[in-house]
Every structure is written in structure tokens, then in C-alpha cells.
Amino acid sequence: MIEMIAQYEFMQRALIAGVVIGVIAPVVGVFLVVRRLSLIADALAHVTLSGVAAGLLLQKHVPFFQGVNPLYTGMGFSLTASIFVEHLRRLYRSYQELAIPVILAGGIGLGVVLISAADGFNVDVAGYLFGSILAVGASEIRWIVTVGVLVLMIVILFYKELFALSFDEESAVFSGIPRRWINLLFSVAVAMVITASIRVVGILLVSGLVTLPVAASLQIAGSFRQALIYSVLFAQVAVLSGLAAAFYLDWASGGTIVLVSVFLLLTVMGCKRIGRVWRKRLAHRAQIS
């Protein structure tokens, strides 16, 4: 594969996109999961679908939009939705997860209506639904890298604040951390990650890439730092496997990435269980002798 990467530009683009997404998706995912908001990824992905549909519709009817990648309108939609989620979360303090079905249903509804209104598109909608890492275009790669840098900057610069807010919002606010501001910035980061990941894993599977590596990492992480590091490692393994499978076997990259993530999760759970049994046995033996 290494020769292929050196030889073909599309392989280089796929590799860069995969590595970038494999860093930012799980990093943002850790914060979402510990806040019990992992399904937001799914909801925003569906909103992005309606944004993409709107973009395709505009492409058809408005000359200005002909050269505009529908993923940009998708991102616009998911940014708006993400800020709206933050607002709903404030409104329903005790039912913060309520924001998710509201946005999810709204997103799918709008997407379906837009697609049917457009009477079917000449572009393959399936490409957005399932993603294909090998089809990342030259302009898209610049955009994915920009998103990657921005998201990483947000997380690194506001790591302290994001941690404190995720662990205990009340105390964080009391100690003077600007909750609204930081949460808004984080919402923007989430929306950007979702849209950028769609090329690689597809709308239907984005939440898998955002949450599965985190789920595996939470099994073994003792500290928050470890949770971040492990989830990035797992995501990298998954994304690179997806890339290899897409290249050699012509499998759907998104599906492979998510399947590998599930496999990693199961392996971690299995290893943990075996480790526990062994430790118990050793302790038992030590007691006897």
C-alpha cells in the first residue's frame, strides 16, 4: 500500500483525510460521551444530510451554487443545528438529551422532503450516506485539514475549561469558567467534525466513528488524558483498516471503519475480562499459599 500511496494522489488524500478525521472525531467524541451526549453526533449528521440535499437542490436551480460543494451547505446546516442543540440543552436542564431526538427527527424530515422535492438527484446520494475515503477531492482535502487544525486548536486551547464543564458544570461555572462561550465553541467544533467526517464514514456511520473508539478507550482509561490518547489510537487503527479494505477489497470504507471499531471494542472488553479472571486467580492462589 505504501507504494500506492507514494504513487497515487487520491491515495495520499485518502490517507491524510483518514488520519485527520481519526484524530478529531474521537477527541471530540470523548467530551460528547462523558457528557452523555454521544447521540448528538448522529443527530447532527442527519441535519447535515438535509444540508447536503439543500446544496444539491440549489446546485440544480441557482447558478451561483453550481460550483459550491454541497458539504458546505451541509456544514452550515449542522452548525446552526448544533447551536440550536446548545440552546435546547439550556432550556431543558433536566432533559438535556431531549435535544437529540428533536434535531434528529427534524434533520431527517427536512432531508427527505428536500430530496423528494428535487425529484431525485443526478449525484449519488449514497456517497454521502455511506462515505468513501478514496473519493476525497483535492479541494475537500484542504477543507478537511483546515477543520482538523481548527478543532484541535479549540480542544487544546480550552482543554481545562472543557474538562471542568464536562465533569461538573455547576462547579465550573461557579469557579468563573465562561460556560456559554465555551459550550458554543465546542458545538461549533462538533458540527465541523461531523461534516468533515462524512466524506470518510458517511452520514449513517459518523456517530460510530465518534463514539466507538471512545467506548473502547473508556474500558481501560484511568485518567482523562488516557481516555483521549487511547480513543485516538483506536480510531487510527480503524480508519487505516478502512482505507486498506477500501483499496484492496473495494469494501465500503465507512462500514469497515465502524466494524473494526466494534471489533476493537469487543477485544478490549474480552481482554479486560480475561485479565480480571486471571488477577482473581492469582490473588486466590497467593492467599492459599
Partner: protein
């Protein structure tokens, strides 16, 4: 130097049409250890929320460090452990150190990272509350009492001048409660920390605090523990209602709530 750390003057507050505080007067002087007691639903936590500015009173005046609450900005002078602190997500992947360090984040401010001496501060504080050995342990894997000490450490790590604790000894065994009071008395005496402690443990609190306030919508008593002990029957029967239980068990901690 400020004489008064916290004062409430004729403070009123209601949730909708339910009056919770009705003309409350309270003061906490610098270096004082004040115990706040009162039955469930008497408005103790509400009073603290108002004092910390997370809710706004309907009427009355509140000052922190001799400044009107509206203009008070120096939140790093205050450490606070909420009554709900133990309802955090048990599966949260954070070590005790990481949680305690987050107590410094507000004071550090945006864009400033934790430095070596900040981490030293965290270790020192953990040592003070007796959690040094558990600093790398996952926070969800501590016992209830240990978790409470971790949260007290988080509230202390930025060296506050006033520490507010809302029922920190609920669900903590007797020995740990004793250790906890020893820790508080130590902080209070050696560091001159002003303390506001909300508790149901009337028996214990009278032995440790400088002054006691008894709240139920209004302040029914505000004075020193000796006087409180002398008038205890009367105060409690007024503040807690006519509960026979309170009147009978005079020499043990009152089994309320």
C-alpha cells in the same frame, strides 16, 4: 482587611409562589466558623445559591467581602462544595488529581496551562485531606467519604478565604466524620479560613463551630453554641416544628433527616 465575609440583610426569595426565605439576616465574620442548621426544605441550599449569585434574591441585600454581590468578581476567594456534588457520572474517566486540579482552572484563567507549581499545589492539597495515596485512582472508584474529601480538596486547591460546604458529611461513617471535622478545625485555626457549614448534624456541629444559625424560612437563632445548647429545645421546636423526637433525644445528635 474586610471584616465581614458574607452578610445577608432582609433577604427574601420564593420559587414561584412558594416562599422559601422571608427576611433572612445572616453574617459571617472573617475567620469565623459558622454552622447553618435547619430541617429539610428550610432554604439552606437556596440561601447559599443566592449568596453565590447563581440565583437572584427577590429583595434584600447580600454582600461578599464587604462588596455588594452584584459587583463582586473575585470568585477565587471562595471555595464551594455543593450538596449535589456526589451526583457526578461515576464512569467519568478522570483521576482524583485531575478533578482536584480543575479547582484551579477558574483562577488560572483562559489560555493558561497547568504548570509544575500548580500540580505541586494539587499534591499539597491532596495531602492535606489525606488522599495522597489515591491521587492516581479513578474518581468513581473512591468510597463516598473519599469522594467528598476529593471535592473538598477541589474547593481548597485555589486557597480560598471562605469555604462553603453544603451537607458534606451525608453518608460518611462516624470515623470519617470525625476526621472531617478535625480537618475543618485545622484549616480554620491554622489558615484563618472562614467557614460556612450546612449540616443536619446538630450534635457534632455545636462542638466545633464559633456560631450557629438556625434557619427555617427565617433565621430562628443566630448566636454562639453555648447559648444554642441552652435554648436548644425551644429553638428546635420553633424551627423544626413540634417534633417529639427532637425534644426527647437531648444528648445525642438529633436524628432529623
Amino acid at each position: 482587611m474586610a471584616e465581614s465575609v458574607l452578610t445577608l440583610k432582609d433577604v427574601h426569595f420564593s420559587y414561584g409562589d412558594q416562599t422559601v426565605l422571608q427576611g433572612v439576616n445572616l453574617s459571617l465574620r472573617r475567620g469565623e466558623f459558622l454552622g447553618l442548621v435547619g430541617p429539610n426544605g428550610s432554604g439552606k441550599s437556596t440561601l447559599i445559591q443566592l449568596a453565590l449569585g447563581s440565583m437572584v434574591s427577590d429583595a434584600g441585600e447580600i454582600t461578599l467581602f464587604d462588596q455588594p454581590l452584584r459587583r463582586f468578581r473575585d470568585w477565587s476567594k471562595i471555595g464551594y462544595v455543593s450538596q449535589k456534588v456526589n451526583s457526578f457520572n461515576r464512569g467519568f474517566p478522570a483521576t482524583v488529581s485531575e478533578v482536584v486540579a480543575s479547582g484551579l482552572y477558574g483562577k488560572l484563567g483562559l489560555f493558561r496551562r497547568m504548570k509544575k507549581n500548580d500540580w505541586n499545589k494539587v499534591d499539597e492539597t491532596l495531602e492535606r485531606v489525606g488522599l495522597s495515596d489515591l491521587s492516581r485512582r479513578n474518581i468513581g472508584r473512591l468510597s463516598g467519604g473519599q469522594q467528598q474529601r476529593a471535592f473538598i480538596a477541589r474547593a481548597l486547591v485555589h486557597d480560598p478565604e471562605l469555604l462553603i460546604l453544603d451537607e458534606p458529611t451525608v453518608g460518611v461513617d462516624t470515623r470519617s466524620v470525625e476526621e472531617f471535622y478535625t480537618l475543618l478545625t485545622h484549616l480554620h485555626r491554622e489558615k484563618g479560613l472562614s467557614l460556612l457549614l450546612v449540616t443536619h448534624d446538630i450534635g457534632a456541629v455545636t462542638t466545633y463551630v464559633d456560631r450557629i444559625a438556625c434557619l427555617n424560612k427565617k433565621i430562628h437563632f443566630h448566636g454562639d453554641p453555648d447559648e444554642f445548647t441552652r435554648k436548644r429545645r425551644k429553638i428546635l421546636s420553633v424551627a423544626y416544628g413540634h417534633e417529639v423526637q427532637v425534644l426527647k433525644h437531648d444528648h445525642e445528635p438529633v436524628p432529623l433527616a
